[in-house]
Symmetry: D2
Subunit: 324 residues, 4 copies
């Protein structure tokens, strides 16, 4: 976005006024045209109308929105089964194990989740694994176990679709289809998932800019998804103290600038069960509409991502601190 300065105005004065609005502006001059003030992306949100009204501003230039469908979702809540998420609704807890490992495990997990104030049960039937050799999910049967456990405890279901070929299966049981971080820009998958007509939980890629993330959401809406819920789960970083780097400023940007639906997954973001509680509180304080938490009845037995899962006591404590 940029403004041009009226020929009779003092560019420095206009720049000061923009600064007063919270805008970082860089001055660009030309031989014969008006002075231009280019506004940095890390500026406060200000409407075109407000800019136009600044004394000395001749004109405001802006790019046409690249996200017309998301623009229509601004400040809208979404319904996931019986759960409402977003403006006007209390924050939402979605929790469950990384993988659906057995009927018993997912039933126990559902009980924990419900007790902690959760309304959606998560669990993977198809698991992306960095290496080709470890356990990668029980597939279709696990979807049935997951649905049954959720139904038995009055929960909705969120689960990941990894392959275009499994989207139908997943859509059959899910109230909310998850697209994982590694598939955020798997556009073929986005197209098929969007076409199911189910709402989608779109995890952020490890190096995705906020713009790229939003445009992946636009892909889903363009393909037919009724709602997209963005989920921050940590980005790439140079520090090894946490598994990924939780980016709560992105959450604030999505919530307070773009006014879209956004969840936080502190489990994958940190990899550390001992930091999930404080960072869950921080996520909600930053504006998140809810949390996605990894939990396991007994994490010693977990076949994937065990160390970061909350055990029953810790999940209950988190539920009491944030949801009950």
């Amino acid at each position: 976005m940029l403004v041009t300065v009226n020929q009779h105005a003092d560019p420095e004065q206009v720049q000061a006024e923009l600064q007063g609005l919270g805008l970082w502006a860089q001055r660009l001059d030309s031989h014969n045209g008006p002075t231009t003030l280019l506004i940095a992306p890390y500026s406060a949100t200000v409407s075109i109308e407000t800019l136009r009204a600044v004394a000395g501003v001749q004109d405001v230039h802006a790019a046409r929105s690249a996200r017309p469908r998301l623009d229509e979702r601004v400040r809208q809540a979404a319904s996931i089964g019986t759960t409402v998420i977003g403006p006007g609704a209390p924050p939402v807890l979605m929790a469950g194990p990384c993988s659906v490992e057995s009927e018993e495990q997912i039933q126990s997990a559902a009980l924990m989740v419900r007790a902690a104030g959760g309304t959606l049960l998560r669990g993977g039937a198809y698991k992306p694994r960095t290496s080709p050799y470890p356990f990668d999910g029980h597939g279709e049967v696990a979807l049935d176990w997951l649905r049954a456990a959720a139904d038995a405890h009055g929960l909705g279901v969120v689960t990941e679709a990894m392959s275009e070929q499994h989207v139908d299966q997943v859509a059959r049981v899910a109230d909310l289809i998850q697209v994982g971080s590694r598939n955020m820009q798997n556009f073929a998958l986005l197209r098929v998932v969007g076409a199911t007509g189910k709402p989608v939980l779109l995890k952020r890629g490890r190096a995705a800019t906020i713009d790229e993330w939003l445009l992946a959401g636009e892909h889903l809406l363009a393909a037919g998804a009724p709602d997209v819920i963005f989920c921050e789960r940590g980005i790439a970083s140079f520090d090894a103290s946490t598994r990924n780097l939780l980016d709560l400023s992105a959450v604030a940007v999505l919530k307070h600038q773009h006014e879209l639906l956004v969840l936080v997954d502190p489990s994958h973001a940190t990899g550390r069960a001992d930091l999930v509680l404080p960072l869950s509180k921080a996520a909600l304080a930053a504006g998140a509409d809810g949390l996605l938490i990894e939990t396991h009845p007994d994490r010693r037995l977990a076949q994937s991502d065990g160390p970061q899962a909350l055990q029953p006591d810790a999940l209950q404590a988190l539920g009491e601190a944030c949801f009950l």
Copy 2:
């Protein structure tokens, strides 16, 4: 850190027990020695004693602490003038303008800060500037204005020392000496600042790992500083939506793993006045002992970092939301 597995124990079983403790362990084998389980840094915090007690663990190997002086500061509060910061004390608000621009400006700022619940007044007399040409602070006279304004409103003073040659001047007026982000590993400066015997606010470098940041604090303590308060202010990132990338997981690591004193500066972290409030709340929820907030009586007039400063109303709202 690593554990060796007892010859008669099953390494997989030991690995499962470690997973139960929230530890990510990688198995390393040898021809004739015991199996070793190497624990990833992004694991939950577990004491050596706890590890030693795990069934099947033969021995625990750990590096000697590289930070003996910081280790003695664990779980200790610090006194900055009459302000107590840390365990047992309520969160602290330090606020003020980027630069001390005039006697009037800093007096107005002090009034705002006091009204919002602040106890320390910040303001720069010497300013690091990316370019050599813009305004870089009024120097010694600004230190006097700052001290006078703080005294007039019952506040302490925090201000930055940028040059070894100015440390004495700064120490004369400051209750807390700030070392800026760009100087976090300016070891010559750390030595001189530490030698003043004043407590130090140590901002994190834009690409500093948590370990490097802690060791810079150890430098200060080794040089004579009585206390170090770490301050997260955003790191380098690939996204331009915010000026830097606020890292609240580092705050959680400092607070909940290392149990040291940590502040957050959401103003520099985001560059966005419109995101300071939600990220301030998030910082305190993540465990920060207080906030460092940029504020200006009229940011149109600010000579540096104006767009990110909170104006009086916004600072008051932040004070009421978090401190009053």
Copy 3:
């Protein structure tokens, strides 16, 4: 990897010997066991046998290889149609437009590529696009145009498969199937592509560690791919001077440590046609087995990635500098 120190040896002496081998080692002590020296990943490559022979070393502990199939490909060349790539062969030039836009365009491109010393023609029939709305490839018909142009000029074909549903089509015409950066960890796609039995060009994800990249290659081999050629194309960074950040140290690591096949795509890495030539030379000097270059007969007309494409003169100059 780690070594344990013989009880009668001096750990500092052993550490010095490891340093002599180019290894960064951290000392970990225990109450009753031997001292352990943990070797940092950014150390020179040294074999287990060499370590074992160091005076004072009791034992060497290492993880079992997570990449058994890649291990068998070490120091092996691959054949892509009539082109040999890798040890013993001269560097390879693959070039062509981002998208196959018309029969004429791809025929002109093939002529340019052949003249510049290229042996494979690249061009996209299916294009991943950050936004859902712009041109995303002509699909199947473009594959036919591409094959015909390559055949007419004695070139092989490399083109991208983006969807599991199109892999068969792509495999029908391609000598080398490209998996794009955004799909590096699209494991469902890797499985289908690997199962075609064609060699694969695997681009690095924007935030993929070298280990993750190699494991994605292992996925392909496990699924049936006969050969994997890794392709560095730039990673995420905090600097906007280039479109991505070209990582030639990764190329050196793949070539000189892992001894696998690696190409460089300086066009996507930089986004800058004016830097393609010097960075092409640098890539080959770092050890790359070849280059993937974006080129267009008239980049004013390009429907995607035009600004980074080399025009005929520049491609010819690059060919003469590096391949002819």
Copy 4:
């Protein structure tokens, strides 16, 4: 930089022409003004005159240069003692140990460096250390040993100034004063170093953008330095395979876009003696004016950064490959 489009021209046509010049342009519209095309920083270098001549371009807007003194150094060689560096001169080798550890060590090093084709001897008398406790240099006496060794072998001297208080000492013996990566934005130090009137080797900060790096060079020139030689030594990254991430695209940008003097330090960039040779060749191919190489007569004995130092044979091989 941006262009405005003539009222009677078609913005898409102008955008295509810019694309033909290698420019990425984003279209910004307004209600009543001309269409603006904003040029991305990762575009090819094109002069204002060229842009002005594009059909349909009404006007070109650009920021005034923030680096007037660097602009005068464009395409200029520099003399460091008897060594000429830059346009028209062959690449330069500066080498030596991390620390000057003894008279004998630095004499041996000087012999090695001379034999390998080096013209400047490097060695630290004052060493920045992440921790306060290890060896940090022998100080002033080491400066004398360094000068004597250089003189004995007909070499110039490059050595680091870390403290404002030691700059005079350092300037007394150095032909080229090094400012280290951690002090790139230690503006107080830059001022004192610049004021000595000696040429300066300015290492890049681990998270410094190219613009920040150039502006730090401008600080030096503004303070009186006659010449600044930039030195890339690796930036922060998410991959642990190398100690830092060597950024050769920054070298290409400095050389081919800004046309300034630039060296590469592959030793610190990688931490790996086994990768120094291929990445040295790559650095020169990318356009570097020379190399800064860490070397040690016997790296087992090195008191700092030993693992990355080249031993005599390897330095000689590098000299023969690149300089002799």
